[in-house]
């Protein structure tokens, strides 16, 4: 199979300077390739630098060493070719659902005449039609994150970056949103990097799972192909076997 490399990280390391003088290594020597139309899950415990990795790809942080390319071009800052879904939703409380998505289009300078149709399309896609005029505080956590997803999708980025998007949801809603993410992803196969600390979420969604080793600095541990048919059944024998393999090789607890 001929795979086109979409994102490539080459020996990326990141250090933060804390309190002016303290060097905190967060990522060490990460090399990673993400292929076109792939849903890659980065699985790691807390304090493994996975959010930092995603923020470097989003261009919100600069790597201390190494570089990351998107379609062969080095990433030098944030841009609309990468859509980011935040863990904490990040909606504007003073704007309606519709206006929150439209603001993304305005900021990405999408021509005005396309706004109405694009907003409708992506709100339909995430199943929020009928809620256009609601304010964020009137929505449940799952619905808020749907707005976040619609907003990130609406500018048609080349890559979707999802930073533990369902970390704040209850278990039931979370499972439902994972199914929804799979449905949305299947509908246009946008290259996606999905960050999580939840192994079931990783197995349900990922084409491939990359694990980061816990305790800073985060290092690449292993990569697992998940060749199971979608939608996946968490009680399936193969699913459980792979789950066992990954857990035994990875300390998910702190």
């Amino acid at each position: 199979m001929n795979k086109h490399v979409k994102i490539s990280a080459e020996n990326v390391s990141k250090e933060f300077i804390q309190k002016g003088t303290q060097r905190v290594p967060v990522l060490k020597d990460i090399s990673l390739q993400v292929f076109d139309q792939e849903l890659l899950v980065v699985l790691g415990p807390g304090q493994s630098g996975k959010t930092t990795l995603l923020r470097i790809i989003a261009g919100l942080e600069k790597p201390t060493q190494g570089r990351i390319t998107l379609d062969g071009e080095e990433i030098r800052g944030p841009g609309p070719d990468r859509g980011l879904v935040f863990q904490s939703y990040m909606l504007f409380p003073w704007k309606t659902v519709e206006a929150n998505v439209r603001l993304g289009l305005e900021m990405a300078q999408v021509p005005k005449e396309k706004h109405a149709e694009t907003v409708r399309h992506y709100l339909d896609l995430v199943g929020l039609n009928g809620f256009e005029k609601y304010y964020p505080h009137q929505l449940s956590g799952g619905m808020k994150q749907r707005v976040g997803i619609a907003r990130a999708f609406s500018t048609q980025p080349k890559v979707m970056l999802m930073d533990e998007p369902f970390g704040q949801l209850d278990a039931q809603t979370r499972l439902f949103m994972e199914r929804e993410t799979e449905r949305i992803w299947l509908s246009d196969k946008r290259t996606t990097i999905f960050i999580t600390n939840n192994i079931d979420e990783a197995l349900l969604l990922g084409d491939r799972i990359v694990t980061l080793e816990g305790k800073l600095p985060g290092r690449m541990k292993k990569s697992y192909e998940v060749n199971l048919p979608r939608p996946r059944d968490p009680m399936d024998m193969e699913f459980l076997k792979l789950r066992h393999t990954i857990t035994s090789e990875q300390e998910l607890t702190l």
């Binding site: 989003a58 900021m107 500018t155």
Partner: protein, 269 residues
């Protein structure tokens, strides 16, 4: 389905208490001051007027221009004009300046040192210069009151922008938003609650600076009424001026509070 409408009411006690304390203060005041011409153990009338006399004077002053040259309503109207136009001017200048100082490094760099130097100088200290420049007309007073209103506008607008959620700004950056777009669509709305806080404070400042400005250079206005009362030894006129200032101040700040509550309904959630 529409929700059932219910009228929420404060308990009787909570509604009565403010009136009770107000009435008590007035009664005690009335009782503790001697009537004119009486000399007993109470506070003599030359030091403080009784509320009842002030009320009578207030009613009389609605039509009578003596002894200070204008009716009460004219004084109030002059003061209102001065303070409100200065208030609006300070909003117009201070808020945009503060907002820009919060977001644009160049503006901050240029204005911050000047602002820090200017801030500790009380507006009243400008009175001599204001008289040289504008005379004792309305412009000079507006200038002084304007100085008093500027500080809270600048500081609050500045802080409002500074306390914008940084992740909101990062989010905007991932969409490739321009600096100007981030400023107008994210920083300004985030700063609004602080800016509205500034309206209340600035109005308070304008109203108090007003009295100072009128005490020193004026021939009309509530502050002048107080000065006039002092110079002819009439405590009832002094107290009438003070009370008029208080009541008018309460009315304006209530109006601003209502407007604020309406405009911010969406943001404060």
């Amino acid at each position: 389905m529409a929700y059932q409408t219910v009228k929420a009411r404060k308990s009787l006690k909570l509604r009565v208490l403010p009136w009770l304390s107000l009435t008590a203060v007035i009664l005690i005041w009335q009782f503790c001051v001697s009537p004119p011409g009486v000399n007993d153990w109470r506070i003599p009338g030359v030091l403080l007027a009784r509320p009842y006399d002030v009320l009578l004077l207030g009613i009389e002053k609605l039509t009578d221009v003596n002894p200070d040259g204008a009716t009460l309503l004219v004084h109030a109207w002059v003061s209102l004009q001065e303070s409100l136009s200065a208030f609006l001017l300070s909003l117009l200048v201070g808020i945009p300046l503060g907002l820009m100082m919060g977001w644009f490094g160049v503006v901050r760099g240029l204005f911050r040192p000047v602002f820090e130097m200017w801030r500790p100088i009380p507006p009243v200290a400008w009175i001599p210069l204001a008289i040289f420049w504008f005379g004792i007309g309305m412009e000079g007073k507006i200038f002084i009151i304007w100085l008093g209103g500027m500080t809270p506008c600048i500081i609050n607008a500045y802080m409002g922008v500074k306390t914008t959620n940084p992740v909101h700004i990062q989010m905007a950056r991932t969409f490739g938003a321009s600096d100007w777009k981030i400023f107008t669509s994210i920083c300004i709305p985030s700063a609004l609650p602080m800016v509205f806080g500034a309206l209340q404070i600035a109005l308070g400042n304008c109203w108090t600076t007003l009295v100072a400005a009128e005490l020193l250079a004026s021939d009309q206005g509530l502050g002048y009424l107080i000065t006039a009362g002092r110079s002819i030894g009439r405590t009832d006129i002094v107290v009438l001026g003070m009370i008029s200032l208080g009541i008018t101040g309460v009315i304006i700040s209530q109006i601003i509070y209502r407007i604020e509550a309406k405009l911010l309904a969406g943001i404060r959630r």
